[in-house]
């Protein structure tokens, strides 16, 4: 579904991604782990063209992207992204947040968009908050709205960048629940998270990034019980 080949990315002198290969199959759920600064967020942002890669190749749904030639907006619409800090639009109500992109980008009729929006809000359990402004929501509710907002564009793959790490611990569950459901429905997902329980239960594959390269890639059972790389072992010890 989404494929990165030999991705290199530097910020000035700092080489953050040093040739990453990542092949995510349709309906697969990949969890990315790694210590702070290892390049997890950068990789996700490259997949969404919020950062431009220096070399390598990104293919989405069989189509290799040439960022210089194509309409990036169109490509981004196919890849949903959920951020650590939600990034809801504060000047728009919950429903308006969700229907903004369908109306502006897809030129969907307002009525139709609203119906779609309400369906998605129902899906994340926030139907009753449609007319509320984001500032009135808890962190967990905000993140669920953000997920609904992304889904409104019917993306082919969803990227999650530490979606629960800005949440109070008792609010983490409700967001993970929505993500789990999404995975069960067959959404292709790449998730950066420190929630190891979620990784164990939901991931098809766990990938460990260290200093800009993939050093381990295995199904959850093997990843935790039989890590190959020394750094992976250390990491597992730290977070367990």
């Amino acid at each position: 579904m989404i494929v990165g080949k030999n991705i290199h990315k530097s910020f000035g002198d700092l080489e953050v991604l040093k040739g990453v290969d990542l092949h995510v199959k349709p309906q697969e759920v990949v969890v990315l782990v790694g210590v702070s600064g290892s390049g997890k967020s950068t990789l996700l942002r490259c997949f969404n063209f919020l950062e431009m890669i220096n070399s390598g190749e990104i293919t989405i749904d069989g189509h290799t992207i040439n960022p210089k030639k194509e309409d990036l907006a169109k490509i981004r619409a196919e890849v949903g992204m959920v951020f650590q800090h939600f990034n809801l639009f504060p000047h728009k109500s919950v429903l308006e947040n969700v229907i903004e992109a369908p109306i502006t980008v897809k030129k969907m009729k307002k009525e139709e968009a609203k119906k779609l929006g309400m369906n998605l809000l129902r899906k994340v359990g926030l139907e009753d908050k449609a007319d509320v402004y984001p500032s009135k929501l808890s962190g967990g509710q905000k993140q669920r709205v953000a997920i609904a907002r992304s889904l409104a564009m019917e993306p082919k793959v969803m990227l999650f960048d530490e979606p629960t790490s800005a949440l109070d611990p008792e609010l983490v569950g409700e967001v993970l629940q929505v993500m789990k459901q999404l995975a069960e429905e067959g959404m292709t997902m790449v998730v950066v998270t420190h929630e190891m329980k979620f990784a164990k239960e939901v991931a098809d594959r766990i990938i460990m990034i260290d200093q800009g390269t993939i050093i381990e890639s295995a199904d959850p059972k093997n990843f935790f019980e039989n890590p190959q790389n020394e750094r992976t072992k250390q990491f597992i010890q730290l977070v367990e």
């Binding site: 919020l50 907006a73 809801l88």
Partner: protein, 222 residues
């Protein structure tokens, strides 16, 4: 002290009609200065965040020059300089000087507000498939505009006080009236006290209105 009070009251009673007229002039100058400054400021703020090096350079020069010279010099310069292109009345020369002056400060207000919007907002919008223009128009600008209103209100109050400087090109606003009153009546202390009170009351009224608005904003947000 009771004497002083009588004197001040005396000056006040003798001059209040003239002062009311002068207050209208002061407020007109202020309003034109701010409105014009907002238009100019918007243009230069857009230039400053634009992709073009030349536009950015022009905006930078404008802002540096205006912020690097005293308003009173700008007023004189405009009054005696712009003549070669177009002759205007002293009132308009003063109002335009205030507008040109404010333009640089308001450009910085807008730029600050736009750049103060969390980059996450832009990223979220882009990631949804909105293009740069849509992102600016629908996500960034509406938020930046709302944030600009309190500093714009503040700029209005600054301009109200700054408008006193156009007395130098002979516009009959409050301060010039006080000056003449002081010279004519030889009651400098009382005259300047009275004019200070006029400004103080005007500033306090607008500060109060601004606070009201800001509180309303805060309530909307919460």
């Amino acid at each position: 002290m009771p004497d002083l009070f009588v004197d001040v009251f005396d000056v006040f009673m003798r001059t209040y009609q003239g002062f009311l007229e002068a207050t209208v002039v002061t407020l007109e100058l202020t309003a034109i200065g701010v409105v014009l400054g907002t238009v100019i400021g918007l243009i230069f703020a857009l230039m400053k965040i634009s992709g073009s090096k030349i536009l950015r350079g022009i905006a930078n020069i404008y802002i540096t020059v205006i912020r690097g010279t005293p308003l009173i010099v700008q007023i004189m310069f405009l009054y005696f300089g712009i003549v070669e292109i177009y002759t205007m009345s002293n009132f308009w020369a003063g109002a335009i000087a205030l507008g040109v002056h404010n333009g640089a400060y308001i450009a910085e207000i807008f730029r600050g507000a736009i750049q103060g919007i969390d980059p996450g907002q832009r990223e979220a919008s882009l990631s949804l498939g909105m293009n740069r223009k849509q992102t600016m128009q629908r996500i960034v600008f509406p938020q930046a505009l709302r944030r600009s209103i309190p500093p714009l209100g503040n700029q209005f109050i600054i301009t109200l006080k700054d408008s006193s400087l156009v007395y130098i090109i002979g516009v009959a606003e409050i301060f010039s009236l006080a000056n003449r009153e002081a010279a004519q009546s030889y009651q400098a202390f009382e005259s300047f006290l009275v004019v200070a009170l006029y400004y103080l009351v005007l500033v306090m009224i607008f500060t109060f209105l601004l606070r009201l608005y800001e509180n309303k904003l805060d309530v909307d947000k919460a």
